[in-house]
Amino acid sequence: MAIHERSLVEPERILRKERLVVDGVDISGDWNLIILPRVINDYDLDFAKEIVNSPDGKTINQCYQCSYCTASCPVHNYWDERYNPRHFIYLARLGMIDELQKRADVMWRCVSCHKCTHRCPKGVLVEEVLKVILRTMAKKGLIDEYPSKKFDKFFTESVVEYGRIEDGELLFGWIEKQGYKVFKDPILKKPIPFIGETPEWLKQLTMKPLKSMNIDFLILNAKHMLFHPRTKNWSKFKQVLRKVMQEEGALH
């Protein structure tokens, strides 16, 4: 059966089966289409309890939905209205998983400016609470691993290996992980900037300051890209660090 005004119904609520038998009666054909209702049937309170019970999620109970945080949030104000810390807190407290999942593509976009936490009149540690919500969702397999988490891992690996990061490697390595084809020199296997694929935003971001940059600084950066700087005596420290991280379950 056709749906009039299909644009009013979200695709995930339209259920169409090749063959549908209800109470032994085959109703395939014209009647095989179901539109699922928008009704919230229940709360997932186990999810909510897990957040409250985690040490950094406790303050979620203090929220009274005034939206001071969202009004202050740069991501909400300048990027996407769907990023709404106040709303995420409400959804998480009642365990409305499907609503959170709808926003999974924006939820990780926090820039950690901490305006929300700083201004909250109820003392909710908003930024921490949002991270707990994300972490709990990832742990329960309710969202795919989110990009900021991937970046954190990549960053951590670099620090553990060398004792410090190298900007070029971090940037191009990260671009590569996002699926861009980065051109590398055949011997050292180091990325050569701007020869392979480069995202448009990066070109815009770097070209302007590049023109006005000191040539010595550029040479230093190129050197660092070829020969990764590392912290003094790092190799011994690295072994200890890896061992501790292994024991604490922080290494993935």
Partner: protein, 352 residues
């Protein structure tokens, strides 16, 4: 001028007025239509009173004792005011027991009654045993000392409070458009009591606004949320249904923050009742010619006074919930203030 005062109503405000008048040495007649003193808190077995979390017996008990023991106060139970003639300072009142008295002033403290939730049929009160009123929950705590589902006697897993039943509701006519003032705070308190004794029971408050005014904000709104984990969901419950499949109720509402309809299972639903003027208040207003709010029918104070215990009739003072929703400690203060006004009105010489 007659040297006695008539107090109509034996609830908190009337008791406080009679007690103060008695202590001032003024001859006082207290009429109460019920068979006991104490008014709604005693009659309906309230468990804990807001805002100081004391028991009614602790708070109202001493007032009753003082009134009963004071030789200046004549308490007439099962008695109503039926007629009043005469001028301010010389009222000739007739009581339902046939007695006639001459009094110099009258204190009206006829109070309120709780809304009857059967008038909101969609909420299923009287139809489903697990839909109860907040009065019945108070009685459960105070008389039976335990929380249970009336349908099977078992402990509920989830309790929902439905705010504003019979309040802020034009559907009921113009009479119920006011706020009950106590409901938000009492629900917070009851939610805390449930969570304290049964930590595994989840409590939900369905609200439009949370009006825990003044100093009640922290103890009756913040504390339930922060310390006891009571959950507040924004949306007015529009219908309560029952599912035979699992024997649980469904509260139908729109979650106005998520902007989606919801039908969530609940085991026990508590209706937070509004306040209406008692039949006695409406009757006394007619007998004494007191001005009433055209919508709610509550008594209204004189336009010429900034004080809210001064009525439109000289010599008649109004105290407590006959003027609209009020908390018990304010009822006491108003009764005491009305007593002082009545005593000065009749020119009583204080003989403490």
């Amino acid at each position: 001028m007659a040297k006695s005062v008539l107090v109509v109503g034996g609830g908190p405000a009337g008791l406080a007025a009679a007690r103060t008048l008695g202590k001032l040495g003024v001859s006082t007649i207290l009429v109460e239509k019920d068979s006991q003193l104490g008014g709604n808190p005693i009659k309906n077995h309230y468990h804990t009173l807001i805002p100081r979390k004391l028991k009614p017996s602790q708070v109202i008990g001493p007032y009753i004792k003082d009134v009963e023991q004071n030789p200046n106060v004549k308490v007439l139970l099962n008695t109503e005011l039926t007629a009043c003639e005469g001028e301010p300072g010389e009222f000739r009142v007739t009581l339902s027991n046939g007695e006639k008295h001459e009094v110099g002033a009258i204190v009206v403290a006829t109070g309120f009654e709780h809304f009857d939730p059967r008038r909101k049929g969609e909420l299923g009160y009287g139809l489903y045993p697990d839909v109860i009123t907040n009065l019945e929950l108070e009685r459960m705590f105070s008389q039976e000392g335990k929380l249970y589902r009336p349908s099977n006697g078992q402990l509920p897993k989830r309790v929902a409070f439905v705010f504003c039943v019979g309040s802020r509701d034009r559907q009921l006519g113009v009479t119920n458009v006011h706020c009950c003032r106590y409901g938000c705070a009492l629900s917070g308190l009851q939610g805390m009591e449930i969570r304290e004794h049964y930590p595994d029971v989840d409590v939900f408050c369905y609200y439009m606004d949370v009006r825990t005014y003044g100093t009640w904000e922290y103890p009756f709104y913040w504390a339930p949320q922060e310390q006891y984990g009571v959950r507040y969901v924004r949306g007015r419950i529009a219908e309560i249904t029952y599912s035979p499949a699992d024997g649980r109720l469904r509260v139908k509402h729109e979650d106005t923050i998520v902007q989606r309809p919801a039908e969530v299972p609940m085991d026990l639903v508590v209706l937070v009742l509004g306040m209406e003027p008692s039949p006695g208040t409406k009757k006394v207003a007619k007998i004494l010619g007191l001005s009433q709010d055209p919508d709610s029918q509550f008594l209204v104070p004189s336009d010429e006074s900034g004080s809210n215990i001064i009525s439109n009739k000289p010599g008649i003072f109004i105290a407590g919930a006959c003027k609209g929703p009020i908390d018990i400690e304010s009822s006491f203060s108003e009764g005491e203030a009305a007593a002082a006004e009545a005593a000065t009105f009749i020119g009583a010489k204080v003989t403490v």
